[in-house]
Structures are given as C-alpha cells and as structure tokens.
C-alpha cells in the first residue's frame, strides 16, 4: 500500500464551454433562429456534461479513460482541457504550493481533490480526512446572525456541531467580531463577514487541508493574522495544498511547489526553483527580444519600445549571469515624434515579485536625453550584486512626464552564484536580496580603541 497523503495519476478534466452564438443578419434569419433557439439550447445544455457521462459509463473514475485511443469524445472547438495528464504525489506533512497563471487549472485540481467534481480521466487517491476551503463563507446566510452562521458554515465545511461548540470561543476570539455575534450578518461590513468566515475555516482540523486563493481578503492586519495561522497549520504536521498568486506567501509557507500551466504540470520541486521557473515561464533569455508586438504591453500604451537585449558588460550573451558581473541592457526605442526628455526605466523584480532595483536615466545620466527616430539606449549595471535567482524585467519609456510605453515582464534574467567573497563557501542565496561588497576586520579591545584606530587610519 502506498503511504502518500495524496496521489494523483494522469488526471485530466475537460470542460465544455458554450459555443459562441451566431448573429443573424436578416430578419428572417433572426426569426428562424429564434424559433430554433429551444432546440439549440437543449443541445447546448445537454452537451455541458457529455464528458463526465463518458467517464461515468466506465464505472469508477479509477478505470482510466485513455483519450489517446480515440474512444472518448472527439475534440470539439468548445472543449477545454482544464487539466491534462497531471501526476504527482504529496507525502503526509508536506506543505505544497500550487502556482500558475489565471485559468491554469489550479482551482479545478483542488475541486477534483476535494470531490466536488469528478475527473474526466485519471484518478486521485487521498488518504486522510480532507477539508477544502475554496471560498470563505460558503453557506453564509445574510439573515442569520454571526453565531448561527458560524454553525452553518462550520457544518458545511464538515465539522460536527460538537466540534464547533468546543472551538466556538476560539473562533469568535480570532474573528474579533464578538460584539456583533447576535447581529444578522447582513448588517456586517464585508470585511467583518470575511473575518468571521475565515475564522471558522481556520479552526478546521483535517489531516489534509486544501486551500484556494482565499487569503487575499480582509485588511492588512487580518491578512497577517491569517498568514500566521497558516504558518501554524503548516508546522503542525498537517498536509496542506495551497493555491496562491502571492509568491511571497508561497515561498514562506511551502517547502514544495507545483507549477501548472495550461492545465499541464510544468514543474514540481523545491518552492524556490518552481517559483523562479514560473516567473521565468514564457520569458526569453534570448540575446535580443522583439518588443514591437508584445502580449504583456500595458493596455493603452503605444509600441515605442522595439527590442531589448541583455548581455554581459562586454556584450557576450549568456543564459546565466554570474553574480558580480556587469549586466548590459540595450533597449531600442522608436518614438513617433522627436522627444526632448526621454526617460527609460528598467525595473528588476525578483522571484517573489519584489522590485529590487530600478535603472533610470533621469537620475543616473547627467544630461537629459533627446532622441529623434530609432535610437538604442544602453545601460550597464556594474558589478551586479543581486542575490542569485531569477529576475524579470519591466520596461517603461516616458516623454518627460507622459508615459508612452510600458511592458511588464518583458524579459528575464538569471543570476547564478559565484564565489564573490573568495571564501569557497555556499552563499545563503534564499535568505538575501543583495550581496554587497563587504569588508570584515578583527581587532582586539573595545569600541573606544577601535574608533581611535580608525581615526588614526584616516
């Protein structure tokens, strides 16, 4: 017998999404379309579940439905694979983060694991009592009082009345709404409702906890409280699956992470690496990146930034940049009209999405830059001491105070550790943002003498 907490094998889930309605162009067309609408609707509604039915005919979800053999439904244009052939295992006590872009299938995966929906093929085996939290406050009724909603929500999440009785005071304490306990929740502010709801969820005691993005609620203080609680849960030996877009939270809580991309498992492993891969995902570390038609150009911006290339100070292009080297950014811009005060910002974000530095000609270049026509702006960051890891680059080009173009995550770069301190020791790269040039010295005696010595040295 396996002793995994969660074992997922070749899990796939197909959804049908509605086909686009045809728009009639004649009156007769509209009239016949209208008459045929019920039939069309019936077909559409029936199709909503065709896949699941196929899986159902195979009896248990355990019998895998090999779609490669072509005996399942033919692929249709309105079919999307929310998950495709995902396999992984989670050991008891592991805290695993799941990351991925919107629509990557994270929630779908959690729904299958918490038995809310069945997979189209593949299987998921879970050993232990599961509680899943895909939304805070499920079952809350605005007419019920806070007290009543605690019971309602708690039982929906799978607690028994006795369990809730036992933890009631703790829950109320944590939520901080004891004054309003006997007020209908429709009289609460939305933040208060969320606090109450989260407090109930925070007191679940399952062996396996599944959490979708629910932490991004409440005010800062409450969020910190939630993260603290999560941390406590994570360290109590429970198995946790945690979906979040907050990389810092994932990095802080999880030892292992899974990166889903387009329904497929793109990377699983140590959190730091997976997050780096995720932020790097879809970015090119190519020598020259074409920006003229970039998908992540901020809406409303013109295409002024044409290309960027990242290389070492001497112009040699490498995939990985050794810590402490010079990094050269060559940015080609082509504004539609001459510009008197060109401003270029090159911002670097680290793997948890924190902006670590900005190179900007406004305060780094002595004179204003005036350009007309296609121009290359070069910026060399000397002796780059940023901690090893993956970085993404965001570019913004302004004409004086007017933003002309801005592209998020348009390039990536990776800095790899080197022995910059000459000690042949491993750098604690996860624990720092920069590794500046430092000098250590040792002298005998107390402060006074040391200060005196340094004065003499001057």
């Amino acid at each position: 017998m396996s002793n995994h907490a969660i074992q997922v094998e070749n899990l796939s889930k197909a959804y049908r999404i509605g086909l686009k309605e045809e728009i009639p162009d004649t009156f007769m067309g509209a009239a016949t379309g209208w008459l045929k609408a019920p039939l069309r609707n019936l077909r559409r509604l029936r199709r909503l579940n065709t896949f699941a039915e196929n899986a159902g005919q195979n009896g248990d979800a355990k019998d895998q439905l090999p779609e490669k053999n072509g005996n399942s439904c033919e692929p249709a244009s309105d079919t999307i694979w929310a998950l495709r052939d995902v396999s992984f295992e989670v050991q008891p006590g592991e805290v695993v983060g799941i990351i991925g872009r919107n629509g990557a299938g994270k929630s779908t995966l959690l729904k299958i694991l918490s038995r809310i929906t069945d997979p189209t093929s593949g299987r998921a085996v879970i050993n232990g009592r599961v509680s899943s939290l895909l939304e805070v406050g499920t079952g809350f009724h605005p007419e019920l009082t806070g007290r009543e909603n605690i019971y309602m929500n708690g039982t929906i999440l799978g607690m028994t009345k006795r369990e809730i009785d036992r933890k009631f005071d703790e829950i109320v304490d944590f939520s901080g709404v004891e004054k309003f306990l006997d007020t209908p929740t429709k009289r609460y502010s939305s933040g208060m409702t969320v606090r109450l709801a989260f407090s109930v969820a925070a007191h679940l005691e399952p062996e396996i906890l599944i959490i979708d993005e629910v932490l991004a609620v409440g005010d800062q203080e409450f969020q910190n409280k939630c993260l603290g609680k999560m941390n406590e849960v994570a360290h109590s030996g429970r198995t946790v699956l945690f979906v979040s877009h907050n990389m810092a939270a994932v990095e802080g809580l999880c030892m292992k992470a899974i990166h889903l991309s387009g329904g497929q498992l793109s990377h699983i492993g140590e959190t730091h690496d997976v997050i780096a891969g995720y932020l790097q995902h879809g970015l090119t570390i190519a020598s020259e990146i074409d920006l003229s038609d970039h998908p992540r150009r901020v809406r409303g911006m013109q295409s002024v930034l044409k290309s960027v290339s990242i290389s070492l100070g001497d112009g040699s292009s490498v995939n990985q940049i050794p810590l402490g080297s010079d990094i050269r950014f060559d940015v080609v811009v082509d504004p539609p009209r001459p510009i008197r005060y060109a401003r270029l910002a090159i911002r670097l974000f680290n793997s948890v999405g924190l902006r670590v530095t900005t190179c900007h000609n406004e305060y780094q270049h002595p004179e204003p830059i005036a350009i007309a026509g296609k121009t290359t702006l070069r910026c060399i960051m000397r002796n780059c001491r940023l901690a090893p890891g993956a970085y993404t680059v965001n570019l913004q080009f302004d004409d004086h105070r007017v933003a002309l173009d801005k592209i998020d995550s348009c390039a990536g770069l990776e800095i790899i550790p080197t022995d910059i301190y000459g000690t042949s020791r491993v750098l604690p790269t996860h624990a720092a943002i920069v590794f500046p040039e430092v000098e250590w010295s040792v002298r005998a005696g107390g402060m006074g003498e040391r200060l005196a010595a340094s004065f003499k040295a001057c």
């Binding site: 809310i116 929906t117 607690m159």
Partner: protein, 260 residues
C-alpha cells in the same frame, strides 16, 4: 447500495442546520412571520368555498365545503411548496455546490423536511375548523402518520427528479409555478374523488396525493371509509417515484458542480 446512508448520517448536523436555516430565514424580516404558513391555505379555502362550494355547488361528500377543501389544501400546499422549494434548493445554492463537497441529497431533503413545520401549523387550523363545525375525527386518525410519510415520500421523490433536472435546465424553475397550480386540479382538492368514474379510479390514484388527500378526509371528517385502494396504489407509485428519483439524483450528482 445506491445511497450512502453512512455518509448522510455523518452529515446529519449539516442536515439539521439546513432545515433550521430554511425555517429561520424564510419568514425573516416579515411582520406576520410564520403566520404566512396558514394564510396561503386559508385564503385558497375562502376562494374555493365561494366559487366551488357556493356558486358551482360541487359535492363535498356531505361535510361543510370549507372544512372539506381545507383538509385537502393543507397536504396539497405542503406538497406543492416542498416541490418548488426542493427544485430550487440546488439552483439557489450553486456556490455551495461548486465550492464544497457534501452529499448533495441533503439540500432537497432538508427542503422537504423544513416544510413540515408549515404543514403542522396549518394542521392546527384544520382541527380548529373541525371543532367549529363540530366534526369529530374518526378512529382512523391513527393512520395519519402513515399518510404523512406517504406525502413526504411523494414530495421527496418528485423533488429529487425536479432538483436534478433544474440544475441543468433552468426551465424547470419557470415551469414549476404554474404546473403545480394546474396539477392541483388533478388531485381531489376542490372536488371529491367520488366524482371520478370507477373505471378511472385506480389510474387516478397513481397520483400519490389522491390517496393522501382522500385518506385525510376519511380519517378526519369521516365522510367515507378509508380509501385503501387509493392509498395502496398511491403508495406503490410513491415508492417508485422515490426510488427512481433518488437513483436519478445519484447518477446526476457528480455533474452538478460542472453544470451549475
């Protein structure tokens, strides 16, 4: 077994709170509150007594028309209300279905149970009216619990069918309102079952509410002997309805979250 009773039992607290939630929230912020449970049958009774009793002079098996129709209206109101309530139970709780796992059956079942409160309150009214007309219940009242169970199974069975259909086809919701109203004329609410020709009597009894309503009248008003033939046929059809409804519900259950 096609229904996981152990799991349902594990979720008994949820079941209890759902019943209680629907009772508590239904009449929230209303002046008359639970009084609405009796207003619906009382007003129907008044209208029917005037139109069918006084104007159309429909036979009422020798008892005053008002009490004749009220004994039918109370179980019928329960039946129709629990049908619409359970049909709406999934549709109105889609967020619950798509965000949490629990045996989905607790939603329609709790709707059927919650409506019992209204039913019992309205029953008090029936007894009040019987006292007013000086009608004593017969011995057969001991069978009332049986009739109540029959009434609930019919409601739960049909409710399970409608619930499972309603989540995928919202048409059910729109149809419910008037179909239930029309169905009332297929049950002996405003007229006695004795009006139905004998040939059709047993076919007529396939509607489980026929046996229930005539049973209520026989037990409470003593207008006729207990119509065991109607009740027997009705019970058989209620069992079929209940089993098939639960089976259909189970087979659809896994899709609810996807199609909701």
């Amino acid at each position: 077994m096609f229904i996981d009773f152990r799991e349902l039992y594990q979720y008994r607290d949820l079941f209890r709170f759902l019943v209680w939630r629907s009772i508590k929230t239904r009449y929230a912020q209303s002046v008359i509150g639970i009084g609405w449970a009796v207003i619906q049958p009382v007003f129907s009774m008044i209208v029917f007594t005037i139109i069918f009793g006084n104007l159309a002079k429909i036979s009422s098996d020798g008892v005053p028309y008002a009490v004749f129709t009220l004994t039918a209206l109370v179980p019928w109101t329960y039946f129709s209300n629990s049908l619409s309530e359970s049909a709406g139970s999934l549709v109105n709780n889609t967020s619950m279905i798509s965000k949490v796992y629990f045996p989905r059956l607790v939603l329609p079942l709790s709707a059927v149970i919650a409506k019992l409160l209204d039913f019992f309150i309205a029953m008090l009214l029936v007894f009040g009216l019987m006292a007013y007309f000086r009608i004593a219940p017969t011995w057969n009242v001991v069978f009332l619990p049986l009739l109540v169970v029959l009434m609930m199974s019919a409601a739960a069975g049909l409710g399970a069918w409608l619930t499972a259909l309603a989540i995928q086809y919202r048409d059910v919701k729109h149809a419910m309102g008037f179909v239930v109203q029309l169905l009332m004329y297929a049950a002996p609410v405003v007229y006695p079952a004795s009006l139905i020709p004998d040939r059709y009597r047993l076919v007529y009894a396939l509607n489980p509410m026929v046996g229930v309503i005539e049973g209520f009248r026989a037990a409470l008003l003593g207008s006729r002997a207990m119509p065991w033939d109607l009740i027997g046929v009705g019970a058989a059809s209620a069992v079929v309805l209940l089993l098939s409804g639960l089976m259909y519900f189970r087979s659809r259950e896994r899709l609810f979250a996807d199609v909701a």
